[in-house]
């Protein structure tokens, strides 16, 4: 079927099997490989993107359901989003495979709660696995990103 939606602020129209998970549509049909395949059962979070601003596991979202909605992937985050700045400042990634999912989860978390507590960060990031064990830096970087975002807010 024909799917029409907004991806990273652009109108996109493409043919896809309605049951195809959004993940594969992004990666194979739209040329956006930032979201990764990790488990296919929404258990690891490496495929996390935003759907109308909320974090979703794109491996479990049938592409038909995104028609008319706004999808944001890591490619659409801008590159200097406070989360990305903090991720570089604190040198978070190791292998990096899960980090697109981590960054997208963190960006959504901060959009909803600009000043999370440490416990809220640990709870809010709990759905995204990291095998390299970068959790201590993820936790610190989300808090740092919140600080950077508040500072930016204060300036504008």
């Amino acid at each position: 079927m024909k799917i029409e939606c907004q991806v990273n602020g652009e109108a996109r129209s493409f043919e896809a099997d309605p049951g195809m998970p959004l993940l594969w549509a992004l990666r194979d049909l739209l040329g956006l490989p930032g979201a990764k395949y990790g488990c296919g059962i929404s258990a690891c979070g490496t495929c996390t993107v935003h759907l109308d601003g909320a974090p979703v596991r794109s491996c479990a979202v049938p592409v038909a359901t995104v028609a008319g909605k706004q999808v944001t992937t890591i490619e659409g985050l801008g590159g200097d989003h406070p989360v990305q700045q903090a991720w570089i400042e604190l040198q978070v990634p190791q292998c990096g495979y899960c980090q697109c999912g981590q960054v997208m989860q963190a960006a959504a978390l901060l959009a909803r709660n600009p000043s999370p507590s440490r416990e809220q960060v640990r709870e809010g990031m709990n759905g995204v696995l990291c095998r390299c064990g970068t959790y201590p830096r993820i936790e610190a970087a989300v808090l740092r990103a919140a600080e950077l975002a508040r500072r930016k807010e204060g300036q504008s």
């Binding site: 495979y97 095998r131 970068t134 959790y135």
Partner: protein, 708 residues
Amino acid sequence: MIDRRQFLAGSGGLLVAFTVPLPAACATPSRPAGPGNVTAYLGIDADGNVTLYSPTTEMGQGTHTGHAVIIADELGLPLERVRVETAEPSDPFRRNGSMSSGGSWGVRAWHEPLRKAAAQAREMLAAAAAQKLGVPAEEFSVDAGELVHEPSDRRIAFGGLVADARTLTPPAEPKLRPAATRRYVGQRVPRVDIPAKVRGEPVFASDVVRPGMVYACARLSPVFGAEVESMDPAPALAVPGVQRVIPIPGGAAVVAGDSWSAIRGAEALAIRFRSTAHDRLDSTTISKQMRSGLDADARAIEARNDGDVAAAFSAASRTFQADYEAPYLSHAPMEPWTCTLELDAEGVLHLWAPSQAQDRFRNAAAQAAGLPVERIRIHTTLLGGGFGRRLGSDGVPGAVHTAMALKTPVKFFWRREDEMAQGWYRPAQVARLRAAIDADGRVSALAVRTAGPALGASFSPSGLPEGQLDGSSVQCLRDTRYKAPAYRVDWVRVDQPVPMAPWRSVGATQNGYFLECFLDELAGQLGKDPYQLRRELLAHDARALTVIDTVAKAAGWGTPLPEGRARGMAYVESYGSLCAEVAEVSLRRGRPFVHRVVCALDCGSVVLPDGVRSQVEGGIVQGLSAALREQVRIAGGGAADTNFDSYRLLRIADSPESIETVIIESGETMGGVGEPPLPPIAPAVANALFALTGKPVRKLPLSETAST
């Protein structure tokens, strides 16, 4: 021998290595790397930018950055002008005959060779500058990518000297720059691979796209090693988008125009596998077989035997023994196996692969393709996790069969379930530890027996002959610094049909757990503080004492803790580094929770301090994940745990609240860093639980045994 002149004439660059320089990456499909073509570590182009051909795979451990800073400091070049890629296999990049990344060798093995290669390049550039200005080469220094002649206040950029420098012979013994000139080594330097990863750029094998590429999803046997009996492709071909079904070793590849259709086709494929001798094998049976191995004195292969252990046990006023068990573990890299392949017009097969073992991959690909190795090109991408899993080339034949059948570019991939079910696990193992205690309450003998499958038999291409010792099965036991008057280590082989591979820190994970937990139980028997018992057993070794004293002090060993919390200590040496950790643990809703971990690591000397900290943190979290929850249960001859719903990796909410790292630069030979921080965490946590509950932890994972 290549034709260095011919190559250099083509590239206009300067290349330096010990042997004849030609980076394989500069070879073209029409002139593939092959016998006689050897490679170099670094090339400098006419703009003065350096490409570093690293002998290592970057899988998150940071060796590409480590190598870049070594080169940048020796050349006097800003780091941003160094680009790093993984070389293709050839002699300058091999250790012990093959190119691979493991054993935490990345920085310690290549530190000196890379420094020397960069120093050679620097001296060749200086010689070229000397000719140009008519002054002695010794009068030049380097700064910011330029040769500087201070007496005449003149500077020449590297790029302008390359054309002349490349005609010179590399000096055999170049002078290394003094430590005081270093700008990067030993400093907090941002990793070169991180920005692209944070921006979501396509850096992984799964991100590679080739023109006209199709997608192939594998369907493989759920039983280890089972062969295909029969296959009906019709149900797969009926899935919209599926183009073809291709038989591959141990299964089939379903080819489609997108990944999703390929997955659905693979799931729809009607395929039957032949029965095997182990169709009914399960974890209980394996555990029983391993444990019976502990009693098989006649089959035990000796790994070490100091003093008279038997006499010490005969004379002992009392003895103490305990048996321990550790399960199979999956590496579970977040990127399931994937590889993009293309057979080019000249008959060269290219693999964009997540490989920790380039020679092994190339040989496997050549064999599967029926091509000579010269016609295989391995483009090593960044890895979405390795941990030893990508040392195994078991995914290569299926990918190559698919590519050779298609003759068009293809992205070949496994589903998570196959990534996890195809095995190549950290071996399961059991151990029996015994101590003889003399009349004065001192340890007079220690005896350790491990029993289990031989990692070497499964992983080594040549297997392990019967009667030979499996090094992994006695790692850190036979060469421990602990000293008892009599000490014996042996191993009983109990083969299983479960494929195995080195798993981050290899035998040190099981054996560190066995020995370190036994020491705490023994300390309890002797009425001693576990830290003090370790001090007694290490009293002869100042370096080891420093490590455990450092961790004890930093962790506040012996100081009061909040109610319901206890500390545990462990010390394990592996891969040339000494590592001690103290964990603070409590029970939350009956389950162990780790509040704080303090780590002291003596790795000799440090190139990237933040990189070391990062590896310590990662090793502790990964090791904790394994200790608390991980096990691959075997049922019906295959893995019962095949995805993250039942193979439960540690999540952030259950990770330690703080990890503190004390790096000890003892100045001893540089040790590894990727693996050594991992083994101590399981016994440190288990020992804390023992202190907290009084119940020893004799089986991992802790979630099986530790709930109260």
